[in-house]
Symmetry: C2
Subunit: 311 residues, 2 copies
Amino acid sequence: MRVLVTGAAGFVGRALIPVLARSGHSVLATDQTCAGLREAGAEQVFEGDIADAGLRSAATARAEAIIHLATVPGGAAEIDPVLARRINVETSMALSEEFAASRSAGRFVFASSIAVLGDPLPTPVDDHTPLRPRMLYGAHKAMIETWLATLARRGQLAAVSVRLPGIVARPMTPAGMKSAYSSDLFHAIAAGRPIELPVSPGATMWLMSVSQVAQCFARAVEVDPASLPPSCAVTLPAQRVSMTELVGEICEQCNASPSLASYAPDPTLEAGFGRQPPLVAAEAERLGFAHDGTLASLVRSALQTLTPEHR
Amino acid sequence: MRVLVTGAAGFVGRALIPVLARSGHSVLATDQTCAGLREAGAEQVFEGDIADAGLRSAATARAEAIIHLATVPGGAAEIDPVLARRINVETSMALSEEFAASRSAGRFVFASSIAVLGDPLPTPVDDHTPLRPRMLYGAHKAMIETWLATLARRGQLAAVSVRLPGIVARPMTPAGMKSAYSSDLFHAIAAGRPIELPVSPGATMWLMSVSQVAQCFARAVEVDPASLPPSCAVTLPAQRVSMTELVGEICEQCNASPSLASYAPDPTLEAGFGRQPPLVAAEAERLGFAHDGTLASLVRSALQTLTPEHR
């Protein structure tokens, strides 16, 4: 199948392209800069701004499915709400409308987020937990879930919204975004550097390695639309790990001392990212989505994605 | 309080302005054409396109509360989805964001719709019925409900989304929009004209007179934000009436023969508008929203809104 990946040059996109190519798909890729995407396995690249109708028209013309990753993420959306609205809401609606008009019931996989759930969260979170986003980003994702489910109900798209958990290990960000601490932790310990974490040792997070996330997107392209819940949305079955467990396992695999990690909890970050309760992702599991398996395999997979330049 | 009404020249807006003015509010009004709005009680009018940032800025500058009625309604949204997205989603988001930035936790009342519920509906519909819109219009309204509830959760707005039922008696539409049959019925019988209805005699609809809708909006401006459900949305407690009952009561009050009405059911219209189950609007009732009381008072109120030119 010819699958268009938007935001293809991002962390998830770069991991996803080779997975799709190995599964026999022809990958079309679009992003603002597309350096290295052909080498990653993309058959054709469309360099430009996804908010531009001309770029969208060119990129979607031959696509039989779309995996829509392009987004203005959480922290950036809070800084520039108008840009975030344009990309996360207006452009997502335009892209899905145009794709629905161009072919009958085409597959549209949307990268949603656990940010749609908001905080504080009930215990456990399951497929019936109401969506009460607190971040603008989470509201935008919830709105597009509603939009895509409507187009699916009308028979115009085969929509699947996939709610992503925390993904490790993202590249180090120069600005050191605080919410990136769970990824920064991998970089620090692998390099033998101390790190101060903005959450408590008992903080709990839902995590998945980027290679496992890529597997989930590949699965989303194949899943039977008739088997989806009415929301057309699934929360991926992430592993719930505590910061202490995570630090311990990374240190074990890196032969490092857990004393590299120290803790200076920030109440807001702890509330927003470090209080994730048990997660029952029954719908996703029924549909064939899976997490990394064990904490050891999650950490191993995340460590493999650290490139030397990022350590 | 200085209350800005958008879409103020529409059917609901024109009924709402005098109600607000009589309640002691200063009414600011905006619409594409504002003829007659000062006479209706508006202190100041802002004529222009709500999609224009300059118009929004001028209209909201002095507003202490906003009642946002401006919309591209159901049938029109299906005909021009891009315009509908621009007005119903993008402009609603921009207006609420801008208002939230201009003052702390200002009151923002949003005209939502029972179209957020979709069809087929469960029996009964209550405050826990999931939103599964089928019309683009309904999806747009559900998306903005999510958006406003997020801004409310963040303390940026005091948002109230009010889901409107069928409103009678709207002016006759020149094109005779099929879904307007429940309003057209009033005009026809009051004028002694026969009318063919596109639903069955047993079709059931949720209805409210426009003056009662105006009362509900006036109530929405006053309601304690802390008493709202997490969705910040309420389905108004409309009366559920069958077409036979409605025809009978209108004919009684107009001294006309029920044989003026004939029936030629259209399955799509019947499914979308004529199968409304019992409605339990507990949240709205708890918050002081009410329907017209009796079928006789609903019909009497609707007949009073028929102006001679519309009969």
